[in-house]
Symmetry: D2
Subunit: 274 residues, 4 copies
């Protein structure tokens, strides 16, 4: 069983929680905890051996934790996701493959695209594909997408190279549930065309950032980042090509972490128990 | 205060230990624990806030832990080391610099060299340098070095590119106290001339390994490893040169981990709470 | 146009070759060259702009190069490969995806498996799958596979986690044409079960190696290698899981390099113009 | 001999240059070239075997190259540098060590500090240290430093964690000669306190950038960059500490590249033949 706790910090929390586990006959296989001193917040992820009723364990935990504690015992074992795409296949294909072989840690309920280019690959894997072309304003398209997503009731929405900016209104429908892959090592090169920006600046490394989406474009809590070296011989197009590899890898890592309940959001940051 | 525990595993250890800390008025700043299931061993490193008598805290801990437990409260705050070298300066110089500016986490008691080449750099930093040239057998030299080291009574002996093989008899004097930097990513290229071996094999990466020294040459518990990429344009000499950078970095990391009491030895492996 | 040259070294080669290009009206976009001094061999890869007859350019080059020179102008623009697999999907799926979207740099003619587990994924991509189960000796199976491969006449055979050892006789049929992904940073942990070996040795990094297959098991010329860090908390099973990611990435990189004619084999080593 | 060429691109340059080398009896050991298509600029670094008069070779090269070509044969074999520091020792100490053992690729003429903290380490290595405390305006201090540097006539000025912003007037005295180490992966976190910015943004990697200094603060041509991973457990102070290691490594790499004449500046970018 996995136990997830996020609450105000207080003395003796670790002792109280681990005592409760022992008393319930649960053996702690691994315990990860973090205290954010500035915010006085406590984060814990427990991997325990043994069987216990999920509801009663949650109830017992809430009794010993500070008011307002966020507790999840075996949080959503069978997660479902909706994936949104535009034209680039690399992140989507990686997700579909893992989904197909049961190693994604979640199941793909459907794919929504604003272009039809990736419909075929979804069909190969028998995953529903919904085409929602964007009109100029994008407002009606967003409404349609919100309804579509709602009909699948997913745990997370994954933007796998969805190249339209979502409105605050859209984001508000899925707080801390939208995961995006941005093609730069944020906060460098936020906004459009990061590889072109990187080329013009003459950087010696490019990167990718997976983050939760908030109202502030490219400013949401970062889950994972990584970089690869580049040099003067790279054109902007070469950077795009090399970038795809790192984008795929970083998004895969972020999804693995989120789907195994290792990521906590606190304000504009994450606590990640890798 | 730092608390280090290594003992047989049993249910409820985390609860018992964290309860004792709370009861003693100690706040757990960070807790790292690991269970080696195959060996049924438990490892814990606690960083706690608050003041308590070291002796009585150790006594209380031993009461609640399984027999034979290894407990250290604030283990040797002012560690002393002896460094052994031959001709290459890079690892020694890095140690002397950190020692000079108080960021090594230990103090260098003396340097022992089997060549005089590095005497001058020790003098620049006012560190005693002892020249012990090796005779053919090496036996008498080892005896002399053992006595020398004994006179300084160090916590660790660091082989910073000491290019002679130490006898099992020598090693037996300092169990789990000798740290070596080997110039390959072990177990690849154990033994002599690893860069020449790497060149001849045509590998695309070379590395370095910091490990505790045991009777089995290059087979002791590994503390840290890292690699750097190479390619066909590297001669064996280029690899030696590039290798020095990674050797220096890996040894520095291993020393930082050991000196901050983050490394446990279990059989032929280490548990490292980075 | 791409021009590939491998020959005995002699003075003035670069001048002679670049003069011929200029005289033929070909502009050199990029020139990579390497001299292996020990073997006195010269390697060059040219990327040139302009049009010229491939046959006559080859003839002109052979006139100015030392006897026995190996010259290829636009070497096999449409490469075909046969992929051999056992049960693990990760490397195969990555190849199928890139093949599907036209970014592999080669086309997959068929997949041969000694288990049927990966038949379905091949069908999804409409790629022929041939099941050749291994009998105890493996001798007849190898004969069947050799014939199968022959019928497709591929440029390369890719062992994408094919878990049977191929006989020298098999290898002799496809010299420097078989590419394997080995699940360790060779020469560490050659042979079977490298992750188990890695776990038992307590290494702090694991890796993968893509190499050409020769008679000597795990001793062929290395094309690409990479590693990822691990620690005491990794079981052998965790290492296998993490290893899959790096295996996929390293094989993808090796294939990209080979398929874009950037890899030369010289004895037991490679020259790679990345 | 090392030959460095930077000029307008034109067809046949490689052929003409390599022919001249062959005619002069010089054997090309390694040739690196790059064409910046957007700027139509040609860059070449030759490593040649054999002896020739430097002046006459330069003259012959200028005859065959486009007007305005920049040619250097054996550019400044014994480079001299002035190092500027404030309080942090790590970059300076690394430079002093390499200087002491003759592996820096340049010699340190003197160190200028705006604090006295690093005077002692310079004395240990018998390197002149000049204290130039900054007054409020900094204007007079800059004047004094410009005169001091002038008296040593160095090839490069290295800002090894010099924590004052230099005026455009200062920079104008040493065009493309001032090398700075910035403690972030630029362009992320330009300006003051990058680690604090990185902490507040919750990034998962921090880095360092070595660059030439221009009028635009933190906007000069980048020579080298690298990053290290961080996580939620890092305070801003931990980031500073980890950052020092990468700052030292990146500056060391940049100096090695510049001092071995592998770095060309073109506008706001560099071409680096590693």
């Amino acid at each position: 069983m996995i136990v997830i706790i996020q609450c105000r910090d207080q003395i003796g929390l670790v002792a109280d929680i681990s005592r409760l586990m022992a008393d319930t006959g649960l053996n702690i296989v691994s315990m990860r905890e973090h205290v954010d001193n500035a915010e006085a917040m406590f984060f814990m992820r427990l991997d325990v051996d043994g069987r216990s009723d999920e509801f009663s364990l949650t109830t017992e935990l809430l009794k010993i934790l500070p008011e307002g504690a966020d507790v999840h015992v075996n949080p959503v074992p069978d997660k479902r996701i909706v994936v949104m795409v535009t034209k680039e296949y690399h992140c989507l294909a990686d997700i579909l493959i893992r989904n197909n072989f049961g190693t994604l840690g979640a199941s793909v309920a459907c794919v929504i695209g604003n272009h039809s280019l990736l419909q075929k690959i979804c069909e190969r894997f028998e995953i529903p594909f919904h085409l929602v072309p964007y009109e100029d304003s994008g407002r009606n398209s967003e409404m349609e997408i919100i309804q579509l997503i709602g009909s699948y009731d997913p745990d997370y929405v994954v933007l796998a190279k969805f190249m339209r900016i979502l409105s605050p209104d859209f984001v508000a429908h899925f707080p801390n549930k939208i995961i995006n892959i941005h093609h730069s090592f944020l906060p460098a090169f936020a906004g459009a065309n990061p590889y072109k920006q990187a080329f013009q600046r003459g950087v010696k490394l490019i990167g990718a950032t997976a983050h939760f989406v908030t109202d502030d474009l490219d400013e949401g809590p970062i889950i994972a980042q990584q970089i690869i070296p580049v040099n003067h011989s790279f054109t902007a197009v070469d950077m795009v090509k090399s970038g795809k590899e790192i984008e795929t890898a970083v998004l895969a890592k972020a999804l693995r972490l989120v789907f195994s309940d290792r990521v906590f959001v606190q304000g504009n940051k994450t606590v990640v128990f890798e």
